[in-house]
């Protein structure tokens, strides 16, 4: 989605056009949900938080200044909800299982189970802001400045978090046969 198209949809959504907002959600749901899944470690909770983040963003769309992109802004909203609510332990196993089945049916080329488990375990051991920085930059391809904006951290801190987090994840995978 181009910047102009995004600005047009935001303007329409501000006027109450739900179709326009649906367009924004469709364009950015993968990045927001992907980040929150990596950050929380729980898909069901992450999707609930992502939904809440989008609804909050819709309600507060007037406050969106456009300094960062819409995707970064919603990720920031989701990050704060996830961090503050601490809902990461309320796992919904049924929905996770359903999602896994859906993925397998889709025939995605997945990494090995061992690597995925090792990654999940290693992500869980990362300190809170480091995990978020890794999830954003390595998991979803956000730039360091974008991640710094989302997390409200200095750019240098984010770079350091990503580098150290990556090293720890690589070590964890190295130890996995």
């Amino acid at each position: 989605m181009t910047r102009n198209e995004e600005a047009r949809l935001i303007a329409a959504a501000r006027r109450g056009d739900s179709r326009a907002f649906a367009g924004l959600v469709a364009a950015h749901q993968q990045a927001v949900r992907g980040f929150l899944r990596r950050y929380t470690g729980h898909w069901a909770d992450a999707d609930d938080i992502a939904q809440e983040a989008f609804v909050t963003a819709w309600r507060k769309l007037d406050r969106f200044e456009g300094r960062a992109g819409f995707r970064s802004w919603v990720c920031g909203v989701g990050y704060r909800i996830a961090r503050d609510a601490r809902r990461t332990h309320q796992r919904d196993g049924a929905r996770d299982a359903a999602w896994s089945t859906e993925r397998e049916a889709a025939g995605e080329a997945a990494a090995s189970i061992e690597d995925r488990l090792a990654l999940a375990a290693a992500m869980a051991t990362l300190p809170e802001p480091q995990r978020a920085a890794v999830a954003l930059c390595l998991g979803e391809g956000f730039s360091h400045p974008e991640a710094a904006d989302i997390l409200g951290l200095p750019l240098g801190t984010v770079k350091s978090h990503v580098t150290r987090g990556r090293e720890r994840l690589l070590r964890a995978l190295d130890e996995t046969p």
Binding site: R33, R38, A106, L138
Partner: protein, 96 residues
């Protein structure tokens, strides 16, 4: 495969689908529900405010009108009664 490749693949393995209509619909429904609920709450507050204002105006009007009727009515009634009594006495005196 290097550890870096494995990390990249593992990070990309659990991404949500690029297109997910169900999620979009869920967000829009939740948003509309929230807006609807907010509109209901606002309309209830608005109706309650209007009702309170109408009640206050009615009470003020009632008080003002009934106060006017009470005092003036009492004075008027007293004046009529006094006039009738005076005329009756006057008539009785004339008759006597």
């Amino acid at each position: 495969m290097t550890a870096s490749d494995r990390l990249t693949r593992a990070l990309g393995a659990d991404r949500p689908p690029e297109r997910d209509g169900a999620f979009v619909v869920a967000v829009i429904e939740a948003g509309e529900h929230h807006r609807h609920r907010r509109a209901i709450v606002l309309s209830v507050f608005r109706a309650a405010g209007l009702a309170a204002a109408a009640a206050a105006a009615a009470a003020w009007a009632w008080n003002a009108l009934s106060g006017f009727a009470l005092t003036d009515g009492l004075l008027l009634a007293g004046a009529i009664i006094a006039l009738v009594l005076l005329m009756r006495r006057f008539a009785a005196g004339v008759a006597a």
